[in-house]
């Protein structure tokens, strides 16, 4: 067995063309992509955000309880007792205060500056570009939003976010406010179901969730992971192609006339593929980090996690190599076989998000992606990169091991009997 593994490792390492493709090409591509997309999609840009927001409060917050009670009786067909109870319950909630607290929260205050202005001043400053946008809290916002929340009807008035031109800052701010409103509505709904007599408005997570709980990832990190995984995936084809050469040159026949077990040939291929795939990804990640500082300031735990995920993926690639090798041994035309393997790998690469970031795909494609070994590995890497939670890796790890077992069984089943190789 050791001889087969050593032989395959030597053959790969002596093949300069393969080495360039396996090690140099991904680094070059990562470098080029890094240059091309630098600052375009980079999530680092949140560090440079400096949003100036005008808050225009036109809400009449006096006699909210009374107004709400009246509205509930007149428009909501509640009797007086019910209306009184609801209004009393609603008096604990103040959506405007919750919004103000949110906008001045620690999470936002580093990059959002709030200016309390009247509407005319706010419009003026927005038009002059001194302020990015204005958030208008319309008259009766509190009463209307509480009424809507307790009756389940759509609110008659809503917050208005106005901007002069669409910028990244404005887009981000708009998303964050929307997130806040969604969360607020959710909290009201939950309160109704629970029947609590106190509305506790929890600070929304929404758009600031990533800042608070996990690390963000950059495009260069994404491309490094995607390319490392992609090129390791192609290793399974390289191994199968080398099998084709061994058949063509009758080396395979020479091996068969020794008394060694034919399966050793296949198992040797799998083990060497596993070692090569793991080494390849590790070297690509390592070099990318050394050259481009892709993963700055990461802990040893992070790197250990990456090593484990890489090992699991290398196992999956070894399984794929077993299937491809067995198919190569059955095919009359090894060039046609290589063509088929390349098509399969390309489909896996596209579905797995190795060419285009997976989160730009529609939902159904993202779900399909997680059934490909490369897509699953990429999502594990991204998860690990952001949250470093071991628990989130357990299920995908089992799936990768399952993929390896399945492929190995298929490879063994398809492996030709003596004299069956073409």
């Amino acid at each position: 067995m050791g001889s087969f593994i050593k032989k395959d490792l030597f053959l790969f390492l002596r093949d300069r063309k393969e080495l360039v493709v396996a090690l140099l090409l991904p680094i070059v591509i990562i470098f080029v992509l890094n240059l091309a997309f630098d600052g375009l999609f980079d999530s680092n840009e949140e560090a440079t955000l400096d949003i100036h927001l005008a808050l225009v409060n036109q809400d009449n917050q006096e006699k909210v309880t009374e107004s709400l009670q009246e509205k509930l009786i007149e428009e909501g067909s509640f009797d007086e007792m019910e209306a009184t109870a609801i209004a009393e319950q609603a008096s604990y909630a103040d959506p405007v205060e919750a919004l103000a607290n949110f906008l001045e929260s620690e999470d936002l205050q580093n990059w959002v500056t709030i200016h309390d202005l009247d509407e005319t001043e706010a419009i003026d400053q927005v038009e002059q570009g001194e302020i990015d946008g204005m958030l208008v809290i319309p008259n009766d916002f509190t009463v209307e939003s509480l009424y809507a929340a307790f009756t389940g009807e759509p609110p008659a008035v809503s917050l208005a976010y106005k901007m002069e031109e669409e910028t990244a800052n404005n887009g981000t701010m708009y998303d964050i406010i929307n997130g806040f409103i969604d969360n607020l509505n959710y909290q009201f709904a939950m309160q109704q179901i629970a029947g609590s007599n106190e509305v506790e408005v929890v600070q929304p997570q929404g758009g600031v969730e990533q800042l608070g709980e996990g690390e963000t990832f950059t495009m260069s990190q994404y491309f490094t992971l995607a390319m490392g995984i992609l090129f390791a995936l192609f290793l399974s084809i390289t191994v199968a192609a080398k099998t084709g050469e061994e058949i063509r040159q009758q080396v395979f026949d020479r091996i068969l006339v020794t008394n060694s077990h034919p399966m050793l040939f296949l198992i040797g291929k799998m083990v060497s593929t596993f070692i090569l795939a793991w080494l390849q990804i590790s070297i690509v990640f390592g070099l990318a980090h050394l050259i481009l500082d892709v993963f700055p300031g990461r802990s040893l735990d992070f790197w250990l996690g990456v090593a484990v995920i890489t090992l699991l993926f290398a196992l999956a690639v070894a399984g794929l190599a077993a299937v491809f090798t067995s198919i190569a041994l059955q095919m009359h035309n090894i060039d046609a076989a290589n063509g088929v393997f390349n098509v399969i790998a390309m489909v896996l690469a596209v579905l797995g998000g190795n060419f285009v970031p997976i989160y730009v795909f529609p939902d159904w494609m993202q779900r399909v992606s997680e059934w490909t070994p490369n897509g699953l590995t990429l999502s594990m890497m991204m998860e690990w990169l952001q949250y470093q939670q071991v628990s989130s890796l357990i299920m995908p790890s089992l799936m990768l091991v399952g993929f390896f077992v399945l492929c190995t069984l298929v490879g063994l089943a398809m492996y030709p009997k003596r004299g069956g190789a073409k």
Binding site: G2, S3, F4, K6, K7, F10, L11, R14, D15, Q249, Q250, V251, D253, R254, I255, L256, V257, T258, N259, S260, L264, R418, G419
Partner: protein, 310 residues
């Protein structure tokens, strides 16, 4: 020691080899002669257990090995027609790999490698990558890889195809030495008649998947013992002149090739004076002539109506 009894092989209903009977005694050197497509490689593949015969038996020391291939593999060394080597590995690494899958280890493996390299004369170049070798050197490594486990029977399938005369001579000398000095039984296939003539005690001639003649060289040549071959080199060849030769008494066949004429006639026909006279009467200058004893090539031609390289 090794025999095939009525061995046949069909591929998709088409018979590639039919009822082949071979016998190799211990220490013998046997040739398997035939043109491309005669069925030699298929026969060898069956003996070396790469493919199973459709019918028939392959016996090693009287025991059928068709369903027990491990026995024959232990004593068999096979030199395939192709260069069955890893080009990216050195000669030493190739031999180490093949030696280790023959389950040789440690010192025994190292000694076997060095011995095999010595036999093929490549000890000095053992660390060089095979891809840097000449065609002849690659062929020699190809042979060395089959010698590592010291096989009792060595099968060589066209081991000198496409190499320079010096390497060819080296390989032939190696094979002779293995047979005569080490006592290795040799089954040598080739379509180079002169190699088989030079190396083998007995010859099987195959054509269209069948053995069409077998025996020692003398036995095979005796098939043509009733004929004389006269080769003439002429200044020109005239059709009328050729026709007149064909009509001479005792002439069985006349072959022409550029300015050469080959006349096969009944033994003792004494045609030389008549040929000289005919050439003179057609004003054709006779540049050279020689009488020849028949070769295995002639035997093959006689049996099949075509040459080995057709």
């Amino acid at each position: 020691m090794l025999e095939t009894i009525n061995v046949s092989k069909s591929f998709k209903g088409k018979k590639a080899v039919q009822d082949v009977n071979l016998y190799l005694d211990r220490g013998e050197s046997v040739g398997l002669l035939g043109p491309n497509g005669a069925g030699k490689s298929t026969t060898i593949s069956m003996i070396s257990t790469l493919i199973k015969p459709t019918s028939g038996e392959i016996k090693l020391n009287g025991v059928n090995t068709v369903n027990k291939p491990a026995d024959i593999r232990r004593v068999l060394g096979v030199v395939p027609q192709e260069l069955a080597l890893y080009q990216e590995l050195s000669a030493y690494e190739n031999l180490k790999f093949f030696g280790s899958i023959y389950k040789l280890k440690g010192k025994e493996l190292e000694n076997s490698i060095q011995h095999a390299l010595e036999i093929v004369g490549l000890k000095d170049r053992q660390k060089d990558l095979v891809k840097t070798f000449s065609g002849g050197m690659k062929r020699r490594v190809n042979i060395a890889a089959a010698l590592l486990h010291k096989p009792q029977i060595l099968i060589l399938d066209e081991p000198t195809v496409g190499i320079d005369p010096q390497s060819r001579s080296h390989i032939l000398e190696t094979v002779r030495s293995l047979n005569e000095t080490d006592g290795t039984t040799i089954l040598y296939t080739s379509h180079y008649m002169e190699e088989v003539e030079q190396l083998c005690d007995r010859v099987y001639i195959m054509d269209h998947g069948e053995v069409i003649a077998a025996g020692s060289k003398a036995e095979l040549l005796s098939i043509l013992s009733s004929e004389d071959t006269i080769k003439l080199e002429l200044s020109m060849i005239d059709e009328l002149f050729v026709e007149k030769i064909k009509k001479l008494e005792g002439v069985r066949k006349v072959e022409t090739a550029s300015s050469q004429l080959k006349v096969i006639a009944k033994k003792g026909s004494n045609l030389i004076s008549e040929l000289v006279y005919l050439a003179d009467s057609h004003q054709i200058q006779l540049l050279n002539f020689q009488t020849e004893s028949p070769s295995l090539e002639d035997v093959f031609l006689h049996l099949t109506g075509r040459t080995l390289r057709d």
